[in-house]
């Protein structure tokens, strides 16, 4: 079979047919950021698809916002069977109340089994308000889902203490079951270009938002986070090479900058930035050790780090016994490449 015949076959575009009546289904409320669909929305559609298949139900997407109709097709491509669009100039960032009303009205008619949101600031507020209005249960920051067939309840796993372990909870009775989905936890589904659909418009009653943006917070300085409490740290050692690159990496990641005693001796960091049992003991989620050999006193100070990435030219460097990911290379070669990608 040659490619052109295949194309002809596929060109009988799969028009997605929606279910006749409302009732049930796994719904995904889309996160729109700067006029584009957030990745988490498509990830959620993917998760919704597998749940819906097990439930024998349909997947629906909801788009809220100004001029969002053109974002409907990716939702179909990701696996949605239907899409509702509530487009109205009144819907704008930081004015979530109209959204809640739209969703509440829509879901009162459609009676979803499951409603998924992205675990984003907007998604969280919508999910909680909606769950409360409709009497549903809400599980936030879900990273994995399974289905309890007996009660058609979604079992969602969510991280405890930032991911030390996971609790699994379900909402067996109350409906809808609301879930906020952790970005990046579910894989991006395959976007089938031949899957298309006709989104349905939903009426919007504009509501005056009750929270008003006054303007930029003039002169507001958030409290400084000390190194020992920093969740992300990029640290330099004697073999770091160009310290400016290390600093750039820290900025790119939004991380605190630190170093070992070698970095202090080299004049790159201050005494209060020394990661060492004789300096600051840290417990970040992520610790990037650039050119740090890793003696006992430094390594004892990063014991509690969640994930350690180490870059050092010497394959016998003690840091490699501690690090999760080891790059045996010159930092001056790896850092530019890393900065290019990030």
């Amino acid at each position: 079979m040659d490619a052109s015949f295949l194309d002809l076959l596929m060109a009988q575009q799969e028009q997605v047919a929606e279910a006749e009546s409302g009732g049930g289904g796994v719904w995904v409320v889309a996160d729109v950021v700067n006029g584009a669909l957030a990745a988490v929305t498509l990830e959620a559609i993917g998760a919704a698809r597998s749940l819906a298949d097990s439930l024998g139900a349909y997947v629906y997407g909801v788009l809220l916002g100004d001029s969002v109709a053109e974002l409907a097709q990716p939702l179909y491509q990701a696996g949605a069977d239907g899409v509702r669009v509530a487009g109205h100039p009144a819907l704008a960032p930081f004015a979530l109340e109209p959204y809640v009303n739209v969703l509440a009205d829509l879901f009162a008619a459609e009676r979803p089994e499951v409603v998924m949101f992205g675990a984003t600031p907007a998604g969280q507020e919508l999910a909680a308000r909606l769950a409360q209005r409709m009497g549903g249960g809400l599980i936030e920051h879900v990273t994995a889902v399974t289905l309890d067939q007996s009660t058609r309840a979604v079992q969602g796993a969510f991280p405890i203490y930032g991911g030390e372990y996971f609790e699994i909870a379900a909402c067996p009775q109350a409906r809808p079951q609301c879930i906020t989905v952790e970005p990046g936890a579910f894989s991006m589904p395959y976007l089938d270009p031949y899957r298309k659909g006709e989104p349905k418009a939903v009426e919007v009653q504009p509501v005056e938002p009750r929270v008003r943006v006054v303007g930029p917070a003039e002169g507001f300085e958030p409290p400084a986070l000390p190194l020992r409490d920093a969740p992300l740290i990029v640290a330099a050692g004697r073999q770091a090479g160009d310290f400016a690159l290390v600093r750039q990496l820290a900025e790119r990641l939004g991380a605190h900058l630190a170093g070992d005693r070698g970095a202090y001796d080299a004049g790159w960091i201050g005494a209060e930035q020394i990661v060492d049992v004789r300096g600051v003991v840290v417990a970040p989620k992520v610790y990037v050790a650039v050119g740090i050999r890793g003696d006992t006193f430094h390594n004892a100070a990063i014991e509690k780090a969640g994930f350690i990435l180490a870059i050092h030219p010497d394959p016998e460097a003690p840091i490699f016994g501690l690090a999760d990911l080891c790059l045996v290379a010159q930092p001056s070669e790896v850092l530019p490449a890393l900065l290019d990608i990030l």
């Binding site: 049992v277 004789r278 300096g279 006992t296 006193f297 004892a300 014991e303």
Partner: protein, 388 residues
């Protein structure tokens, strides 16, 4: 017998521990390295009422009793012996003398600002010829109308360099000596004739002011006589008894910190392919120390309870001071040994704690004096007055 702390004391400890972790610990190294006095910390403690932790609330204190005071000293002792010493001299002997023997008027005038940290206190007893031999003081107090003129001086006075109030012991009648010839005074350091002559440069507790005070025709109004004229010695001995106990509490804190550090290092440091914690010699050191600490803790808080319930405690307070200071020294010595070279480095807190611990066996009554007190009390029960 109920060995649990009351809810209010547990809550107090938790609050103090958080304060110490956030406000005291970050400054400890600098106090030592730069020879600074923790004035800001004293102010913050005062604002929270902790500089009067054992004094009644009507005098600005917390009303937490001697137990509360021991808790404060223990938590401070864990982290910074210098800060604990500043606090101990202020509450435990400086202000305490006024609390034990002051008139209502004196308490209202002096104890309340002392409890709130608005003023800092020191205790002026020791002189160059009168250390353990406290009765040998020479500072003279001569009555002149409605005031007294003090001449002389004191040495090794903790907080002396920055105190606002010093409770001073002086010889009011040389003929009578200790029995009826010694009077205590509340001296305000802004008065004419009061001078801070010099500061001691010490091996440890370098975050404290240890000053030599000089009195030259220092005029003290008669209303500032503390207790009865001529009965100052007894009054001061009572005060020292109280102060002793909390010194043991600070020693307990220091020992606990040393043990924690030793345990942590033993489980972290690997030599010969295995952590030090697996070596029997290390395990025995730690077991011995932990046992001493348990015994000390029981002793400290039992004596605090006796004070709070009005029972006699002189002999036990001496035991607490003696045992607490020696356990403290033993603990930090052991911690230093376990830390090896790291313990000797000035970049690490062990060596500072080592230097800080030693003084506890010397000041507030040397351990020799404590032993004399204990033995005297024991023999007195048999009707024997021993002469040391």
């Amino acid at each position: 017998m109920d060995f649990t702390f009351s809810p209010e004391h547990n809550a107090l400890r938790r609050m103090i521990r958080e304060f110490v972790e956030n406000e005291v610990a970050p400054l400890a190294a600098d106090l030592d390295k730069k020879h600074l006095v923790p004035r800001e910390t004293m102010r913050k403690l005062g604002q929270l009422g902790l500089l009067g932790v054992c004094f009644p609330q009507k005098y600005g204190g917390a009303g937490a009793g001697e137990t509360g005071y021991c808790i404060l000293m223990e938590e401070l002792g864990r982290v910074c012996t210098s800060t604990a010493t500043n606090v101990g001299a202020h509450i435990g002997i400086g202000a305490m003398a006024i609390y034990l023997d002051g008139t209502e008027e004196q308490k209202r005038k002096y104890l309340t600002p002392l409890s709130r940290g608005e003023k800092i206190a020191a205790f002026g007893l020791t002189e160059s010829n009168a250390g353990s031999d406290a009765a040998n003081i020479r500072t003279r107090a001569v009555r002149e109308g409605d005031s007294w003129i003090l001449d002389g001086g004191k040495v090794y006075i903790t907080n002396g360099g920055y105190a606002d109030i010093v409770t001073v012991l002086a010889l009011s009648d040389p003929a009578l000596g200790v029995r009826g010839g010694v009077t205590a005074f509340i001296v305000e350091t802004t008065w004419d004739g009061f001078k801070v002559a010099r500061e001691e440069d010490k091996m440890g507790i370098r975050g404290t002011s240890t000053a030599e005070l000089v009195f030259e025709e220092l005029r003290v109004p008669h209303e500032n006589v503390l207790g009865k004229v001529g009965e100052g010695f007894v009054s001061f001995m009572k005060t020292l008894d109280m102060g002793r106990l909390t010194l043991g509490a600070a020693g307990l804190g220091g020992a606990e910190a040393a043990l924690d550090a030793a345990v942590y290092w033993a489980k972290t440091r690997k030599q010969f392919g295995v952590e030090l914690a697996h070596k029997q010699s290390v395990q025995w050191m730690i077991a011995n120390l932990a046992t001493h600490i348990e015994a000390l803790r029981s002793l400290v808080y039992r004596v605090a309870w006796m004070v709070d319930t009005g029972q006699p405690f002189t002999q036990l307070a001496a035991m607490v001071k003696m045992y607490g200071s020696e356990v403290g020294s033993m603990a930090i010595d052991l911690a230093m040994q376990i830390h090896g070279g790291l313990g000797y480095s000035r970049d690490f807190p062990i060596e500072r704690a080592f230097r800080d611990a030693r003084i506890a066996e010397i000041f507030e009554g040397t351990n020799e004096i404590q032993r004399i007190v204990i033995a005297s009390n024991i023999f007195r029960e048999l009707g024997v007055r021993v002469r040391p």
